[in-house]
Symmetry: C2
Subunit: 267 residues, 2 copies
């Protein structure tokens, strides 16, 4: 399929390369000549115009805060499939239902720079009008990927708890613990997680906090839970209420530490 | 050396086994017959009395909230070396300075059940009176371990930020995210960390919160940083101020993700 990727930031460039790797004829466009040059150097074939004529699919890989606006502008003018790949779906999907056009597909690739190909990588698909048809179209475009169908509210809630919350926890841990003495314990893994989180651009996390009501709710819940621990006459009761139902603690403990590739921490 | 380990909980049993593994003649005592039986089944030679006569070293592996009281009671009556292995040091060390006795050593093993032997494992040593002499004595007892000398305030602060804080973050993450939809992202590692933390007994974390002023301060700082993010007109500025000075973001990013054994998360 001939595919035009609009936006050649980190996401757009990665998507363009991945789509080319599964046999599509991919072109990339970005209004910034610098972004085009960077993508070109990374092996993406670029074009100097966003004209969608002649493409079977147009993939909008634009910044989060622009996705609804770009959908409103572009999708009525796209002859084939319009694909949005942004991180939040509630707002842009409402726009995609309004804007018309022959076929609109709203996905969120749940992987990043580490993906060498599409095979087996998860992509969330949030249906717009006809889930079956959109799933078929997305499967044809993202060949080999594992498409996970979920409604947009569930998706944005999952992003709040699986992306925004861990990122903010990483920032908080770093903010509080830096310049403090440390000892080699379980926190080493949290240090590495925090380093990974903060090595990314804080813009995405910031926009999730600003634009996702679910992310704000997750953070408000975090603050409530922390206040509960701090004000509890007996922190043990508060902590105990926060634990899951771990009937097989020993096995879980070992499995978790094996997964972390480290030995169990001291008592 | 003949060594008596007092307290056969998880820490006491582990210490008894490790000391036996480096050639000491170790006996363990616990007031609870069940604890003695469990330790015995795990290969520890137990005795029915805490009488310290005839031992070159007595290791107190008692619950955190008892360590100062036990030191006050026992250390004047110990003919040889009295060794405290508890997780917080400021309070018990003050007691160890008061209580007299020929030699008092205050350590904190920075490892746990995963340690198959002492070789190379870190142990914090917080000096009581004569750092050189206590270091020699601890080196002889914990043969092969890597002893790290630090003052007790630095140690307890490190425990606050490297033990209490990550544990509480694990509880908080679990409390807030459980029963919520999730997607496979960077949070998988945090899930595993939270599972590992909550598979442990919450008592230690609870006692750290109750008894360590440094741990409470760390948690108050956490709450302040979170409030700052939530009330900021522009979360980006707040997040950016929490990041370190990462001149080599790309390299760090890759290294952190390699360390985590997973691929980099999506943009």
């Amino acid at each position: 399929m001939r595919v035009l990727v609009l936006g050649l930031g980190r996401m757009g460039s990665a998507i363009a390369s991945l789509l080319a790797s599964v046999g599509h004829e991919v072109r990339g466009y970005d209004p910034s000549p610098e972004a085009r040059a960077r993508a070109s150097a990374a092996g993406v074939s670029t074009v100097g115009s966003p004209d969608p004529a002649g493409y079977g699919a147009v993939v909008a890989a634009v910044p989060l805060w622009l996705s609804a606006e770009v959908a409103r502008e572009l999708c009525p003018r796209i002859p084939g499939m319009y694909v949005d790949v942004s991180t939040l779906k509630v707002e842009v999907n409402a726009e995609l239902r309004r804007c018309g056009g022959p076929l609109r597909v709203s996905v969120h690739p749940l992987f990043g720079r580490g993906a060498g190909g599409l095979a087996g990588w998860p992509i969330a698909l949030t249906p717009i009008e006809d889930a079956e048809r959109e799933l078929r179209a997305a499967s044809e475009l993202f060949r080999g990927a594992e498409l996970i169908v979920m409604d947009e509210s569930t998706h944005d809630e999952a992003v709040a708890y699986s992306v925004a919350l861990p990122h903010v926890l990483g920032y908080l841990f770093r903010a509080v613990s830096r310049d403090r003495p440390s000892i080699p314990t379980v926190s080493r893994r949290l240090q590495e997680l925090a380093a990974a989180v903060e090595a990314e651009d804080p813009e995405l996390t910031s926009h999730l906090i600003s634009r996702s009501p679910q992310a704000r709710r997750a953070l408000e819940e975090l603050r409530s839970a922390l206040s509960e621990i701090l004000s509890a006459p007996d922190p043990l009761a508060a902590l105990s209420s926060m634990r899951g139902d771990w009937r097989e603690r020993g096995a879980l403990y070992e499995a978790a530490y094996r997964a972390l590739g480290c030995s169990a921490p001291g008592p």
